[in-house]
Assembly symmetry: C2
Homo-oligomer: 161 residues x 2
Amino acid sequence: MESVGMTAHDHGSCKAERLAAAHGFCDAHRLHFTAVRRRVFEILLDEHKALGAYDILARLKAEGFGSQPPVAYRTLDFLVKHGFVHRIERLNAYVACVHPCETHDPAFMICRLCNTVAETSALPSRGMLGPAAREAGFEIEQTVVEAIGVCPSCRAEGVAG
Amino acid sequence: MESVGMTAHDHGSCKAERLAAAHGFCDAHRLHFTAVRRRVFEILLDEHKALGAYDILARLKAEGFGSQPPVAYRTLDFLVKHGFVHRIERLNAYVACVHPCETHDPAFMICRLCNTVAETSALPSRGMLGPAAREAGFEIEQTVVEAIGVCPSCRAEGVAG
DNA sequence: CTTGCTATGTTATAGTATTCCATATACGGG
DNA sequence: CCCGTATATGGAATACTATAACATAGCAAG
Ligand SMILES: [Zn+2]
Ligand SMILES: [Zn+2]
Ligand SMILES: [Zn+2]
Ligand SMILES: [Zn+2]
């Protein structure tokens, strides 16, 4: 057991399960879970925190993959499009999803001190926005919910400000 | 009456009221509502939609203010910090607040076709995130809630996709 | 007036993302 | 198997977003 995100869990099996799930999903949907795509997903699973496109690009380059921005952005677009990875707007960064292969509305808690990102569900938020949207005649397709604050570990250190 | 955002309202008086409120707030808090700050706020009030920092910078430059990025970013930072303006993370853009001088948790509905932005309240969302945050020991300081979808006007045009 | 703080302005640079074109690989029909 | 087509990868160039660092100007308290 190691601590990742803001709670502890068995990360080794967590990674293996999600890789398998992603592979299965791609097979089932005639999508190509290619080497770069797999590798980027692995990198994000290993880090278990938000990484910028250029962080990922640097690793790809070091491993012999393409070295130009589109390589990272295309791969991330694919992973985001199919729900394996989420983009964190506030950080211009990406995290592996903790609920692979299920459509959902994620919400994130972002520590402003250590940049740790924890994913949770935002379905309630969509529900609450619903009335306002209905009144305005606005058709919600996707929600971005990101809470900024201080994680328990950083707060324990009393670094808060 | 003209239609702005996603509902109709009297925009002329809306602008005047908010300018006056901002001016009053600055007086009360020993803040300087200087020419650039006032002008940027006016620009955002006039547009009543999200503008990027460089859009604003271009107008400032045309009017004889400074022409370099920091001019726009500093001014926007001031307006955001004091709640006159909100940043839309999803668009890297800024909109005038519709509830000046009151602390609040805004939520936004963003039309992906015309980029119109409507502000509403996100307090419920904070409430719904609360349980997850408490369980994780995460201290929420600010929330970003942005719904992406299609506004009534764009949907009426049947352009949706 | 002088001192210190705030605000404005500029240059330069850093960080993020997309457009466009070329090559390569996978896939299905013949 | 071969070919045509769609998809995937690689890269050059460029656009867009944002900050760091420094200089000058305005203002207010002492
Ligand atoms: Zn998820
Ligand atoms: Zn932290
Ligand atoms: Zn507001
Ligand atoms: Zn629209």
